[in-house]
Symmetry: C2
Subunit: 209 residues, 2 copies
DNA sequence: ATTTGGTTTAACCATTTGGTCAAATTTAAA
DNA sequence: TTTAAATTTGACCAAATGGTTAAACCAAAT
């Protein structure tokens, strides 16, 4: 049965290849990854990889898609839910974001990869295609500013700050580890701590007292 | 005259190659970059690149070195200067960091590159070799906490937050641009704004009121 | 049992690419 | 002016790599 167009619900070898590709691409990037390496990681013949995904680029694109599609919708649906208060939203955002990346460690690598390459447009399109509008979050901020709950802040800077502080620690993981050794804290511990500290840090900064 | 060991003060073709390599490596990464491409960018014969730098890896390493050496010393000497107050230090840190990256746009790419690869140890070594100790900054924070000027914060999280918010916007530049279009703000404007907003954001969060 | 269609593999191919080398050219010392 | 050393180049090479293909394999239908 032909099922090349079948997305989302992969199985068997196709699934194996995707998982292997996530791992290898995430580690070495599009150029650094070898088709043979991916095949080995999946435990199958190299030609099979081509059989299922045609080319390296197509495979990469496929991984990009499932990666971002498993990510943005969850985060963005949270952010554009108008019935969650701003502070709650910040708390949940940090937790969700960090947890999602913990569960899919290949994501930051791809993020950097795809962005340093010219792939921002594609990501931007995904935003729009998902039918989700960040405006809700922005308006919510402006609302709270008017109400006087928070101090005036540029919403764009705020959201950039939040994303930065969630993602970057994963990119800089080996570096940060170097610092942490001093305190004999391991990285997962650091991340769990971060899930609690970060919302406090953010809210503390914008909350009017 | 043999001058392969001559560092820091390059000239002529050697300089041209380094600049070209910064640009190409920063854009495409170690694997994505082509020696031919670098030679073309420098406007010289490919064999010359090998003549001066032996191999692609050696060239990459050379660029890594000058990149990080042009960066860490300045930042770290600021951070470990005990005669600058904490708040001033934060303000200067943000400004210096962002300005430095603005002037060397290839740095974030390299940062991500080198970290996603296993190069953290090398970077960590540079810290130590530079004879600069981040402990000064950490102690300063703990001091201010005792004094009661700032609320209790984990110094590691704080410094990670600061670095994250400075670097990540450059990595995510194309994405952020997408958001900014809405407000018809161009990126440099955004960065200048950021130099002012970020210190406020950070200090606001830790300052006891 | 045979056929049929998807699946899997080993062998193979064309191209790209990092790197080399001998010859040519420039520079500077003698 | 010679001469020696450093620099620059085009041509070339071996290895690596993405991709192809024809044959083998296998499960289900007839």
């Amino acid at each position: 049965m032909e099922n090349h167009k079948n997305n989302t619900q992969l199985q068997g070898n196709e699934k194996l290849i995707m998982e292997a590709a996530k791992k290898i691409f995430g580690r070495k990037g599009l150029d650094g990854a070898r088709m043979q390496e991916i095949a080995d990681e999946a435990g199958i013949n190299k030609a099979l990889v081509h059989y299922y995904f045609r080319s390296k680029d197509k495979l990469f694109e496929a991984v990009i898609n499932v990666t971002f599609l498993s990510f943005f919708p969850k985060v963005m649906s949270l952010m554009s839910n108008p019935s969650i208060s701003l502070f709650q939203k910040i708390e949940r955002f940090v937790d969700l974001y960090i947890t999602l990346i913990q569960e899919n460690p290949h994501i930051p690598g791809f993020m950097a990869q795809e962005l340093s390459r010219g792939g921002a447009d594609r990501v931007l399109d995904m935003f729009k295609d998902s039918g989700i509008k960040p405006e809700v979050f922005f308006q919510q901020i402006e609302q709270e500013i008017k109400t006087g709950t928070i101090v005036p802040v540029n919403p764009v800077h705020l959201i950039v700050n939040m994303i930065s502080m969630c993602i970057f620690p994963f990119l800089a993981r080996p570096l940060i580890s170097g610092f942490l050794i001093r305190d004999r804290i391991d990285y997962d511990e650091f991340l769990e701590e971060r899930k609690k500290e970060l919302p406090k840090f953010i809210i503390n900064s914008i909350k009017k007292k």
